[in-house]
Amino acid sequence: MWKQVLAVTVLNVRSVPQRLGSSAVTVAGIAGVVVVFVGVLSMAEGFLRVMTTGGDLRTAIVLRAGASSETGSMLDMDTVRLIKDAPGIGRRDGQPRASAEFVVVVRHAQAGTGKAMNVILRGVEPAAFDVRGEVRIAEGRSFQPGHYEVILGRGVARRLGNMTTGQSVRWGGSTWNVVGVFDANGGSVESEVWCDIDMLQQAFRRHNAFQAVYATLESPESLDVLRTSLEADPRFEVDVRRESEYYAEQSRALTGLITTAGAFIAFLMAAGAIFGAVSTTYAAVISRTREIATLRALGFGSTAVACSVLAEAAVLALAGGAVGAVMAWMLFDGLAVSTLNFQSMSQVAFAFSVTPQLVTRGMAYAVAMGLVGAMWPSWRAARLTIVDGLREE
């Protein structure tokens, strides 16, 4: 029987050029669905990638108990000191490898549009550059402690084209000089501006206010040591998380929204495309009624005929899926955008990312659509009686 299926399928596929118009429409219909499907998911993928890059397994973040993000957390000086000396945190030259930080969301007018953009201004301690090893100065120099100086993440520098090294900006009643630009392997901190925490506290009159402690663990397994010792301590209420988990949590709301909306749109589009596939496949079956009847008369089984209809649809759908995936890749891959992350109310820059997995998913989706669409026509083809079929003009 498989030989029969193969023979009829080859025959069908070879006759595709004769039905080029309707076959092309099926392919285009499925390609369109795949473009949108892959496009929307590549947006979620790109956002997730930025948010989770730099989530080092050896880095822990300590926030006040219950706080879901840094902006909703508060730690005082004594707590910060105790956290830094807790077991599990690595040391270098006798000093804990930990940075207590404070963030303020500042507004700045964007180049070109002049529209205000929310940016995180992060005050850090010198150890921050050790804890977040991925942060490297790319242009200029780092800020000096005790000075109103800032360095811009790569993403901020790009978005705020009007703010470059050597210029100054007013935030929190102080004038800050821009002294450098930093990279962070494309992670979300590239959407931030960094400065000395003491200066930030002074400028915004938030003395002794801290929001988070970032620390390098002795080893990835030391997280539990740190967690047990801090969460058991009755003097303060804090939550200890791995940095990578924290970043994943921060991106959950937005990736969830994009994926849900994307799934909804893809589902409806697929429904539309399936109905389209049903009518084109059905038309193809009808127009070949005599041909199918002849095959049956020659001894081909009804299953073979049905399978061949399905196989032809799968081949066309696969072609559509491939066209769609390539188009999505050309249109969206690397497309740089930025959006507001509701967790911190600040802008995060990211790029659409069309990954091989997404392409595979898109193609699988295409084949599934093709097969579902061909189900009914193939059943019709199988049920055709030979005599009636041959009598068709």
């Binding site: 879901s68 500042v106 749109i265 539309g272 507001l340």
Partner: protein, 402 residues
Amino acid sequence: MTPDRRSRSAPLAMSMKYLPLIWSNLMRRKVRTICTALSIFVAFLLFGALLSIRAGFARGVDLTGADRLVVSQKNAFNQPMPLGYRDRLAAIPGVAAVSYVAWFPGVYRDPRNDFPILAVDTNGWFEMYRDLWTVPPDHLARWKSDRTGAIVGQDLADRFGWSIGDRIPLTGTMWPRRGGGAWDFTIDGIYNAGPASGRNASLDLMFFHYAYFNDARIVGQDFVDSYRVRVADARTSGEMAERIDAAFANSAFETTTSTENAFVRAIAEQIGDVGTIVMAILAPVLFTILLVCGNTMAQSVRERTNEVAVLETLGFTRERVLGLVLVESLILPLAAGGLGVAAWLLIQRTNPTSGTVPMSSLSPFEIGFAVLMAVAIGVAASVAPAWQVHRLTIVEALRRGR
């Protein structure tokens, strides 16, 4: 059967007269017609959904008052402003009322139960937002006399099954309470959408007394996050914003003042250009589905070339035959598309995303656009095959097989 040649019947009258003929043509291949109709139906359902989302992002912000200003720390978001600014703001000529708000980051039982909690001015807040939120007078009175009272939105009350009188312990994640432990609140009132709030009423907020918050916290006393100012004359909003910023220029806390409208829009705009994204999705969706449908519809016309010739033999004029083909091609997208948009309008009423995705109802302009799209599909699908038929002589057409 011979049509009346004297009367130049209007298309509508013609389609009424020939409805049975058109209907039987449509039902010639039932499966194909139904599939095409369903495909168009889905395309227009999606069209409605995406345009509602687009409108939700674009228009949701227009609902906030134009006579209210937001005064916050200059070039910063949610940074503290001294409580003493209240009197200074109230003293500025043209200011009708001043209220203030401070964000209280907190969770109810579990970190996942996190919703906006705001400490507000007891005697000014709900008065200022009367158009947006309605609180029954007895609820408001009870709340005002209860120091640890709270007023919650209807959606929030429904979410946790709260009713008046319930005691709610909240963990403050940012503000430790004097003496430690949870912050206890009593539900004194439930607010609902006010007369001017429409769909975007935000009924998931919790409000409590700033005074309680201020007295019980250990740090940050006598600071608020932002002031809300109502101006005496809404037409002077812009001018008033400048006057306020000028009054605090070079002070310890400089201000940025904007209308509430502009303030909300500035945040909404930062989400990104939702409109462009929506249109980028919509264009390939519609193009694809319409391509498929257009092809099927055109095919059904081509198949009937010889039937057209029969009609002409019977005395139908070319124009009339063309008209029939056109009407037939218009009926399908208009009916299926109309049902699709109508289905979306029904779905939208049920609030399918429970408020997580902003949506707004479709404007007559957008509905008109949908109708235009449907007409365009019908015309595009019928013009080419109709023209082919038109060019053939009866004899040629009759000779053509299927």
